[in-house]
Amino acid sequence: MNTMSSKAAERAAAYEAAAADPARRPRPSHGPLTGIRVADFCWMGVGACATRILADLGAEVIRIEDRNRLDMPRRLPINKTAGARAYGDEDPDPDPNAGGLFNNYNRNKLGITINMRDPRGQELCRRLISVSSVVTENFAPGVMERWNLTYDRVRELTPEPIMARMSGYGHSGPHADFKSYGPVVQAVSGLSYISGLPGREPSGWGLSYMDNMAAFYNGAALLMAIYHRNNTGKGTEIDVSAVEAGIGLLGPIMLDVTANGRKTRGTAYPLGNRIEHPHAAPHGVYPARGEDRWVAIAVFDDAQWQGLVAELGHLDWAADPRFAAQDARHANQDALDALVGAATAQRDRHDLMHRLQARGVPASAVQTSEDVVDHDPQIAQAGLFVELDHPVIGPAKFEGMPMQFSRTKVDYWRSAPLLGEDNRYVMTEVLGLSDDEYEHYVAEGVL
């Protein structure tokens, strides 16, 4: 009991500290989305990553959470004390405010908790929507319908709304109710199949690429809808199917199938790190000095080839008829890759990258997140990762935007909200509840 209560006391203290910190108080934003309020029902990765784009550009994004069904990124053992743990290896009672992944996805947003099993909670949601102009969600199919928060209903609550529905399969068709997350989407869309060595099982993706890409596409779709409404006064519902977005990322192989009738199954496809078009060779990932250290090299023409053989000290290769031209090198990649791999194996991957690049050869160390975040001078000069403090987590790095604007200011003003951190502000100042009403709802478990 003592540990529990000290834990509870510690968690309560974090809220007091956050409330006392003027830098965490909601404030007028600037940026191209100033004045846009978003009732954000998103959770998990896709939705939160999409609405982060809106928040970065100045929208007032109000995350609506459920205390009794914590957002997964709050729970996962991606935090400062978990160490080397698989994300499925959860703690039984994780501190919802210590979750690093949640912090990463939800900076710049406000956070409230509403109990949707209580009719008064649902009424508060409708009130929030009535003072918002954008609604976002990525629940399993049917959840918004159960709350009667369909687009038609939302239109009754607020004029010309934009409502983004982010799902795996889209909101029509026979598989609309199918359950998915990134790896399932990657499998179904073909992205996993086109990744791997010939004659082996697909190696696919080591990340939920389609959670991220669907988030970026949903972010763009929301921005398009806002741009359209600014021009025409008209709102819209948005239906993004992650599977369809994924198919759109397969590239020209899809046209090889539809225009040329190509069949990929049962053939030597895909080719691992080699490519069919153009005839680039060597084109691969080669061992470097150290354990599990690699360098990627891609040679597209004779000048790059000359640079490679000079750097690797093997001018003799250039005289070998098997390697005399791009087509010949492409046809003899087994022999070529063995030679290149032997020549790179004792080289430092970054040193070799820079020396090859000095000779005009496309090359890169295969970098870890540690390399990219802490040691990459190109990333550092771009200021890609920004630091923000958090009442429980402390200072942490965040993924910024990969572009620099000459005019638009991206404002990283606050780390992610504590669970329910902005309840009082949103209920009283946005929805106009009295302090008594607010305290009453807290006491009754509506918030």
């Binding site: 991606i78 690093g100 086109i194 993706w205 690429y209 806002i226 369809e244 069949k263």
Partner: protein
Amino acid sequence: MSGVAETGQKPPYTGLKAIELAEDVGGEFLGRMLAEMGAEVTKVEPPQGSPTRAIGPFVQGQEGPDASLNFWYYNTDKRSLVVAPEATAARLADLLADADVLIVSLQPARQAALGLDLNAIAAANPKLIVVSMTPYGLTGPWKDYAPSNLTAIAGGGPLMMCGYDDHAIPPVNPGGDQAYHTSAAFGHIAVLAALLDRQQTGLGQVIDLSMHSANALNTELGNPYWFYNGVNVQRQTCRHAQPVMTQPAMFQCADGSYVYYTLILADQHSWKILVGWMDEMGMAAMLTEPEFSDVVHRQQHMGEIQELVECFFLIQDGHEAYLEGQKRGLPIGIVNAPEELLEDEHLRERAFFVPVDTGTVAGTVLFPGDSYRFSAFSAVPKQRAPRLGEHGGT
């Protein structure tokens, strides 16, 4: 929502003009994204055509700049204007007078060689949005480094997360030019931010987007594991890279195909569904015994459970297992080959693939359709990529 807008509203970029100077599929993909939502996108090409026209595959054994499926894919709905390199800067000055967006994906040295000064262009055209989308950005020690898709996805971090359990095999590139696609996705967001800014202020601006930075933001859990736990993740066969090795999540089926399914032992709900399904097929063995309803017991027998699930899928047709598993409420995916997508009943019902008249020996060819659907408006009907110089030459 049917996805087919019948509101009479035009897509959002209607009336916008964009000029594209791109020699890679990233810049071209961004131009395509603007074109399919209504912008008039003019691709300015040298007399021999964009280098992307020389990249295969080619349509039905044909050759030449108008036969590249690579070019077809990334350049639908655009116009092609041929301009000699030495005339580019002067011609641009005219073209940009009534343009809204300029896409440039040439590296700094190529920009200089063509006499392009992006800041000067922006100064001369205050409402213009100039988006530079280059391999490493316009500044910094690597800005002139030679690019490729493979080296970009390597440098940004995603590649180290992809490959096989066997780490004697190098990391394996996920298929398709995904490093360029990632850059294009962010390029679209950047252009939209600038368009929204211009709606407020009336002013354009210059955007400097780096493909390297874009890929560094596309690791999903990789960066957070480093930010917070201080550990690097390790690649694993077709499933999440994690700090420790986990159980395989891809199961081979009787027809040689694979399904993706992550067995989460702590998830009581899906455990019951799975065991019920296995039991109906006579494949549950001891998993129906009461002690297996305890998660700790399951975790102690992980290896045996994994083997039983492997056997369970190995006797089934992959596609049937996918549909049956989903019907029962499990998040399971079939690993589709591209040609199998054309038979998918769901995609057919949504009319995802759209016919495009290519004006070539191939006739009408199916293309993947829109990546986003709106109730208020639709993308423009997809038109084939332009032939070289189809909309004018020097």
